[in-house]
Symmetry: C2
Subunit: 328 residues, 2 copies
């Protein structure tokens, strides 16, 4: 048994929910009756999705969190995941912290590690995550990108833009006070997958996805797949940066232009963007309370294709906000 | 949309078996009633699992084939897979060939690409594959590593050792005539997952796995997890090299020692090793015919722990045959 087999032991715990866990050729999962399986894979590459030298606890957290965020976007309940890991060298201290961060998130969400692979190679983390979604009367309750209708409200969960602030600060492109940087950095390195909110929105939201590449770019996927357009209120959106919740931004530390750029196209937010009928406003608020996750209504879906930015007075806001391609 | 999103289009085809395929946050799979899901992940890294510059059609083939081999080892019927791919650069010709090789194997086995991820990074291919295994009377029909019993026969499918011959020849450690190298190289670069055999062995084999690291090392997993030992007849095993099927090896081109090393510890074979009761010999032969896959009985399971090598006369064969750790 090579050292890479030994590594696997860092991640091996007895199966609880899976019919068979780590240690055979395959893991075995038995979806509950009336459930279908939601599946998503994300690969994280050093220098592209995280900085070389990032603390391994945070990396373990983020690697699973970004996958759980995909389950959240479908309204799925996490069940299990596989981990494939390429490591340049075997560093026991690094592995101990990485697995601790990973398994802490797994435990919070009841998501069990059931298998995977470890090998020598440039640092690469590939996770495939499995969740359950009920099928009711033959119809899947999964939240898709394709169900937004003209007249629907557009919402986002939590806060937006802080991860991008942290990234810019860490790259030396922006100066932030230490306390603000520490707070923003947590949003970059330890995102919170909105799993409870996704589940609470089943049967309420008409479309949903998670924001990984920036609000406008990701919202564009909903618009395209639903065959609709949208109008977004930037005066509301700009309030979503947590770092600007007090007067910090008012002092000019971060320009309005930068704030808007971070909110609309920052990326790495892992919040949910979703749509729901106007008639469901109270149901959305109830889901938000049930999931203990704030949501903000930032606009509406239009029949006319395209994405329009307006201020509180309904006037067009100039500017182009492309998605950022992570570290690209 | 960046060029890495465009890449995904090489791999996107309409969902047939999946409830939802590529293009949303998650894929949705609906296991058939009475089925559980078998899941396996393998990560392939350049320089470790394949040579830099290997032809991309073969690489696409192998990447999926080694994952399907894990399903075969469980007796699972392939259903779907996800592909996460890190590429140093976008090379359209390379991608066209890689996807052609990958999807050709997928089509042979009715295994549908349902999702994944593409990103920039050192070449890395991570596939997670899903299969179905029936549950009968509350009992999974999956073939596990843990069911071998003293007195059982030990079998392997197909041929063994040729992949290792090719690897040694390609590394310049062995000279092979061009026709033999071409034949052996196909075994290294385009292994045949024994999917039909695995399914045919459900309810017959007591334990099974696929041979990726070498017969003896992998058989050791069955012995350990079943709490048994085994005796293997090396005079039978040595006949399993396809390259030696004619008189080539008799001429001394490949030494007996090298032949035995390749068969017992060559690796990259992706054949099945399995055990079955003596009373099931005719059932094993029927499964072999049904799957059109030859099987050879090479030994027996003992109550006494450990792995013993004997010749046709039952005399102990000296020598130590460690597993090779792929390209390590």
């Amino acid at each position: 048994m090579g050292e890479f087999d030994l590594i696997a032991r860092y991640f091996t715990r007895p199966a609880r929910r899976a019919a068979l866990g780590v240690g055979d050729d395959c893991a075995l999962l038995q979806p509950a009756p009336g459930m279908q399986l939601a599946i998503s894979s994300d690969m994280l590459v050093e220098g592209r999705h995280f900085f070389a030298g990032v603390d391994p606890f945070s990396l373990g957290h983020k690697a699973l969190a970004v996958n759980l965020s995909d389950l959240a976007a479908c309204g799925a309940t996490p069940v299990a995941f596989t981990l494939a890991l390429a490591l340049p060298t075997v560093d026991a201290a690094w592995l101990a912290e990485f697995s601790r961060g990973l398994l802490a998130v797994a435990d919070v969400h009841g998501c069990e590690l059931v298998g995977g692979d470890t090998t020598q190679g440039p640092l690469n983390i590939c996770i495939t995550v499995f969740g359950e979604v009920p099928v009711v009367g033959g119809k899947s309750q999964a939240l898709l990108r394709s169900g937004a209708k003209a007249g629907d409200d557009v919402y986002v969960s939590g806060t937006l833009g802080d991860a991008r602030l942290a990234l810019d600060a860490l790259r030396g492109r922006l100066r932030l006070p230490a306390d603000l940087l520490a707070q923003a950095r947590l949003r970059l390195e330890r995102p919170t997958p909105r799993v409870a909110l996704g589940q609470a929105l089943r049967g309420i939201a008409t479309a949903a996805l998670d924001i990984s590449d920036g609000l406008l770019g990701d919202l564009g996927h909903i618009l395209k797949q639903s065959g609709v357009g949208a109008t977004i209120d930037t005066d509301i959106a700009i309030t979503l940066i947590a770092a600007c919740a007090d007067d910090t931004c008012a002092t000019g530390l971060i320009s309005l232009k930068k704030q808007l750029e971070c909110v609309l196209a920052g990326g790495d937010d892992y919040e949910l963007a979703f749509t729901a009928p106007v008639s469901a406003r109270s149901a959305v608020q109830a889901a938000s309370r049930q999931a203990a996750t704030p949501v903000t209504r930032i606009g509406r879906i239009d029949a006319q294709p395209g994405l329009r930015l307006v201020n509180a007075q309904g006037q067009a806001v100039p500017g182009s906000y492309a998605s950022f391609d992570h570290f690209g």
